[in-house]
Each structure stands twice: as C-alpha cells, then as structure tokens.
C-alpha cells in the first residue's frame, strides 16, 4: 500500500496542480463573465422583476420586449426610433474607415520596409508619435481642417478623421510585419518584370492575411467603440451608436428602464464581439506571426 502511494505521488501532484490551475482559471473567467451575465439576464427581465431588486437572480419570465424597444422605439433625446438608425449609421462609417485605414497602412508598411528611401525610418518614427496623441488634442485642429475640406458634420468627414487617426497604428502593424519579408523577394519580382504596384498586389498583399486580421480587429474595435470623435464630428441625425447609447442611458427624465439600457448596451457591443469570435484565433496568430518562411 505504501509503495503504491509513493509510486503514484508524482502523478497525484501533477493532477492537483492541474485542478488548482483550472479552478483558478474558471473562477477568474466567471468573475469576468459576471457583468455580462447580469446584463443578459436583466435585458430579458420585466421591469417589475428588476424593481424587486435581485440583480443576479435568473429571470422569472423571459421577455424580449426590452430588445425590441431598444432596437426600434426607444427615445434618445427627441428621436423615438430606437437605436437601429444609429447602428446602421455606425456601420456606414466604421466599414469604410476600417477598410481604408487598413489598406493605406498596408501600403505605408510596404513602402517603409521594402522600398526604403532616405529618411524613411525618420518618417516612420514621426508617424509612430501619432499613436501617443490623445483624441482630445486633435479635436480643434481637426474641426478646422474638416471645415476647410467642406467635410464638417458629414459621414465622409468622420471616416476621414478615423482614417487619419488610425494610420499611425495600421502603419505600425504592417511595417513590423513586412520587416520580416525578405528583400530578395522584391528583387526577384523586379527582375521578373513586376513593378511597384504589381508587387504590392500580387505578392505582398497575398501574404498579409494574418496582419490584415489583426489590423481589422484593432481598427474595428477602436472606431466602433469611439465616442469622442463620434459626438464631436458626426451630424446630428447620423450619430454613432455609442453616442446614442450614452444619450439613452444618461437621460434623466421618465422611468429608468434598466432592461432596455442593458439590451441597448449589448446591441452596441455585439459587432465587436462578433468580429472577435469570427477572427479571434487569427488575431493571436497574427500577433505572433513574424516570419514569412517560404
């Protein structure tokens, strides 16, 4: 018996370690999931049940009325058509802003690594500074610029702002990815007869999906969740969903409808959640993928 215990002790120790590790991980995961759980359950409860006061209790009667109201008929300010317009408004500027900033970032990275010129490293460093400039600093100059360009209070203007602000990040991503592309590949393509743009389209972009995913997730999250640029630069009736959500939740008139607030908040967060779930595994892969081994 004693022998048996001794022989098994090593394995037993490892199993115990596993239990501790997994237990801890599950605990932390639960802790982080708690707010989501509360949001979800609250959003499908009736107002009476919420008033009864038990925050973490499961709903007695499940109703999706709050979701329907948040989407279609809740009032934000004077407008009582729900968040759907704001949702589509957000989509309408986030998609072009993400696509354009990613494409330009890829192009910048391509030039800064594979077509270096005198001062290209300095230029890159200068662009990096853009990563550290807080939103608030650029508000006034940006408003002035948009005015000059005739883009004030337009969706194009908001796209422009997000593209400009995102370029520092997207350039950084692509530049660091392309650094590991062997220069000889570009030389080979030049000898094969390919020009500057052909090499970009036919050779460099096709090997970029990992970093494109990273860039898209990053940009989508940033731009979709942005509040400040949205509230400052968007036209009154084309407000992004983050701004509408704020107006909805911070309203101080009437009865506070927590279930509608929660549903609205989840609706506002769904697209980023969706992007992470669809592309998440590529995200980590892209962050760690450096080399482009043949």
């Amino acid at each position: 018996m004693a022998d048996f215990v001794r022989a098994d002790s090593a394995g037993g120790g490892r199993a115990l370690g596993r239990i501790v590790v997994y237990g801890l991980l599950i605990l932390v995961a639960l802790y982080y999931l708690m707010p989501l759980f509360v949001m979800l359950t609250t959003s499908i409860k009736t107002l009476e049940e919420i008033r009864a006061g038990n925050l973490i209790a499961l709903p007695g009667t499940v109703t999706f009325e709050a979701w329907a109201k948040a989407w279609g008929s809740v009032c934000t300010g004077a407008d009582c058509s729900g968040l759907k317009n704001n949702f589509w408004s957000s989509v309408s500027f986030v998609l072009p802003a993400v696509v354009i900033s990613t494409l330009i970032g890829a192009f910048n990275g391509y030039v800064l690594t594979l077509w270096r010129f005198k001062g290209s490293d300095l230029l890159f460093t200068t662009m990096l500074v853009g990563c550290f400039i807080p939103f608030q600093v650029v508000l006034l100059p940006m408003a002035q610029t948009l005015g000059w360009l005739g883009l004030a209070n337009t969706t194009s203007g908001l796209v422009f702002v997000h593209v400009v602000y995102g370029l520092a990040f997207t350039t950084l991503f692509f530049r660091n990815f392309y650094v590991s592309v062997p220069e000889e590949m570009v030389k080979a393509a030049r000898i094969d007869g390919a020009g500057f743009f052909t090499i970009f389209w036919r050779i460099i972009l096709p090997l970029s999906p990992p970093i494109i995913v990273v860039c898209v997730i990053w940009q989508f999250t940033q731009i979709w969740n942005d509040f400040l640029f949205g509230v400052v630069f968007s036209g009154g009736d084309r407000q992004p969903i983050t701004v509408a959500l704020n107006n909805l939740v911070n309203t101080s008139t009437g009865v506070k409808e927590y279930n509608v607030d929660m549903a609205a908040a989840i609706i506002a967060a769904l697209p980023t959640l969706f992007v992470y779930i669809v592309a998440g595994k590529y995200f980590v892969r892209g962050l760690t993928a450096g080399s482009v081994k043949g």
Binding site: P182, E184, M185, K187, A188, A189, R190, I191, D192, G193, A194, T198, R202, I203, P206, L207, V292, K293, G294
Partner: protein, 378 residues
C-alpha cells in the same frame, strides 16, 4: 578574353565600374569581360563587394561610374526587367503564396506571354530540373533543395541571356550543397547560358567556374581559370584564400648557397636550405632580406620510395605536433621558422604526434611574396 565590338548575346562587359555610397567607395574600378556561355565565379570574403557588383549587373543597384554592357548593349540605365537576365537568390525568394507552377510562370505572366509559350516554358523547365511532380505544391511544402531547384526553374523559364546566382547554395546543408553543385554544373553544360555566380566558398568557386574572379575590399585581385588561380596566385591574399587547407606561409630570409638562391628554414632544431625554382629571378636582388615563402600542404608529403631522385624536391625530417586524419589524406602539423605548417601525407605513412618524420618538399611550385606589398615575387 572578350572581343570588344563583337556582340554575343550573353556576353558581359564591366568597364571601370565604381560604386560609392556617400563617401564610402565599395567598388574601385572593376574591369571584367565575360564571354557568351562562360561560367564565371565572383569569390571573396564577405564585404568584398561581390554581391554589390552582382546587384549592379542585375540593375538592382545603380552604377556610380563606368559602364556595364550585356550582349554589347550598355544597360546602365535599364531597369532589371529589360536587361534580359534572371537571378537566383540565397534565400530562394520564392513567392510563398503561389505554387511552384505560378512561381515559375510569374515572370512570363507579367510579360504577358501567350498561354502556349508558358506551357512550353513550364514543360521545358520541369523536365530540365525534374520537378514535374512538384508543380502544384507551395514553397512551404518543399525541402531546401527543392526550393533551390524551383528558384532556378524560375530563372530558366524566361530563357535569359545571362544568369546571375547570388550565393545560391549557402542555405543548404553540406551534403545537399555538393549535390546541387553538380546539378548547377550539369545545368550549365545543358543550357550553355552565361552564368555569373557569387560565392564566398572557394571550393564552390574552384569546382564550378570556367574562370574565377577573386575580389577583396572592392578590388579584383586576380582573374583566371581555377587551376591558374590555384597554382599561380597573384598575391598573398589570393594564395591564402583559395585552397583548403590553405597555403602555408613561412617568413624566411633569402640566401645564396652554391650558386643557388633559396631560403633558410629551421624546425626548432637543425636548419636547412630550401632552394627556390631558378625561374624566380626576383629573389636575386633580395639576398639577405626577409620574404614570405608559400607552400601548399600537398607539396609536403611523406617520402615516396618509388619517386626516385626528383631534382625539384628535398627531403627533411621534422617533428610532428598534431595529426589530423581526413580519410583520403592525413594532415600533419609541423613547425618551421616558428610557424605552424600543415603537410598532407598518406594515411599509410602512419604519422604519430611527437615523433620525427621524414618529409619530401616539392620545390617546383614554391611561391614567394614581398612581406610589405604582399605581391608575388616572380
């Protein structure tokens, strides 16, 4: 060498070519004529400018001064794609997202070749390099040697006037490198296209080239056939760079004994006189001065009982310090004039460290160098 004015399709002329980056001169006035169909090796230690020169021939780098002509046509201002060249790179530089077929055909596709042309080129290349079965694979699914073959296939597809190879075998392991060396040589025999091949490996240079261009610090030190460069090096650098194990250099003093010029050597104990070949007239004015004697390891061997009396050799015993068997030969280290000297003896002689051994010095190929200029004394 090349015949100026005659425009062979694959000839290459490099005339007074200089390359500068800012104030730094990388290449100092290079002159080289390569005939159509010739296999020329640019060899030298890293930083000697050989790759820069190759990039300039390819058009990937600009020429600061001088002229480069391919097939009699000056190409200084032509982009790489218009120079009728193809290049194979050390890192293979295959396009990772394309399969082998598309890699090979990329250049033709860019040049808008007809489908029949591409079909023919693909069939020809796949047959030449025996890789019909690899055409649908991605580069990541190939071994190092296969990737190297695809890189060559890409170069072959366009049937250029001039092939440029930039250290193509450096990324391969030792055994594969030897195999691919043979394959490249066979390829050249078959296609008979001019090849300019850059390497830092002197064995590759010796085995592959019709002619070798030895470079150092942006200058051409010597141009010649492998045997010329080996037997008749222009200076101390070339002599030491070509050959493995490399030539022994021994500092010694010129003496005249019995009407013959030669050098005095000692092996720690007794000293002896080593007469120089009479053809080296330059030693006459240096009696009493120090020179550097160059002697290759295979010129110092064990006594051959069947050799008879060779007038161009002397026999001398020396104490063996280290014994290194390589299989076909055994390398033996002795000391002469305080310098370690490698000798190549037959394994059958069974040398033992610490013992004295009778050695035969072949004097017919002795070379001498000036210690200050490092040039040959002839």
């Amino acid at each position: 060498m090349g015949r100026p004015g005659v425009t062979d399709m694959g000839s290459l002329s490099i005339r007074n070519v200089v390359k500068r980056y800012g104030n730094v001169t990388i290449l100092k006035s290079i002159d080289l004529e390569v005939r159509d169909g010739e296999f020329v090796i640019l060899v030298g230690p890293s930083g000697c400018g050989k790759s820069t020169l190759l990039n300039m021939i390819a058009g990937l780098d600009t020429v600061s001064e001088g002229e480069i002509a391919i097939g009699g046509r000056v190409v200084n201002n032509l982009p790489p794609k218009d120079r009728d060249i193809a290049m194979v790179f050390q890192s293979y530089a295959l396009y990772p997202t394309m399969n082998v077929r598309d890699n090979i055909l990329f250049g033709l596709r860019i040049r808008k070749s007809s489908p029949q042309q591409m079909e023919e080129a693909l069939a020809r290349v796949a047959k030449t390099l025996q890789m019909e079965h690899l055409l649908d694979r991605k580069p990541s699914q190939l071994s190092g040697g296969q990737r190297q073959r695809v890189a060559m296939g890409r170069a072959l597809a366009r049937d250029p006037a001039l092939f440029l190879f930039d250290e193509p075998l450096s990324n391969l392991d030792a055994k594969l490198r030897v195999d691919m060396r043979t394959e490249i040589k066979l390829l050249h025999e078959r296609v008979k296209t001019t090849i300019v091949y850059v390497t830092h490996d002197q064995i590759e240079a010796m085995t592959l080239g019709d002619r070798i261009v030895v470079m150092k610090e942006g200058e051409v030190r010597q141009v010649g056939t492998p045997q010329e460069v080996y037997d008749d090096p222009a200076d101390l650098f070339v002599a030491g760079f070509i050959g493995s194990p490399s030539m022994n250099f021994i500092r010694c003093t010129v003496e005249s004994r019995g009407g013959r010029l030669g050098v005095a050597l000692h092996d720690g104990g007794g000293s002896f006189f080593m007469p120089a070949p009479p053809s080296i007239g330059g030693l006459g004015e240096r009696v009493g001065q120090e020179v550097i004697l160059g002697i290759r390891p295979e010129q110092i061997t064990d006594k051959d009982p069947y050799a008879g009396a060779n007038p161009h050799s002397i026999e001398q015993a020396a104490r063996i310090e280290v014994v290194q068997p390589t299989g076909p030969d055994t390398l033996v280290l002795i000391h002469l004039n305080g310098t370690p000297v490698t000798c190549r003896v037959h394994p059958g002689a069974n040398p033992k460290a610490g013992q004295s051994m009778g050695l035969t010095f072949d004097l017919s190929k002795l070379v001498f160098f000036d210690p200050s200029t490092e040039k040959r004394i002839r």
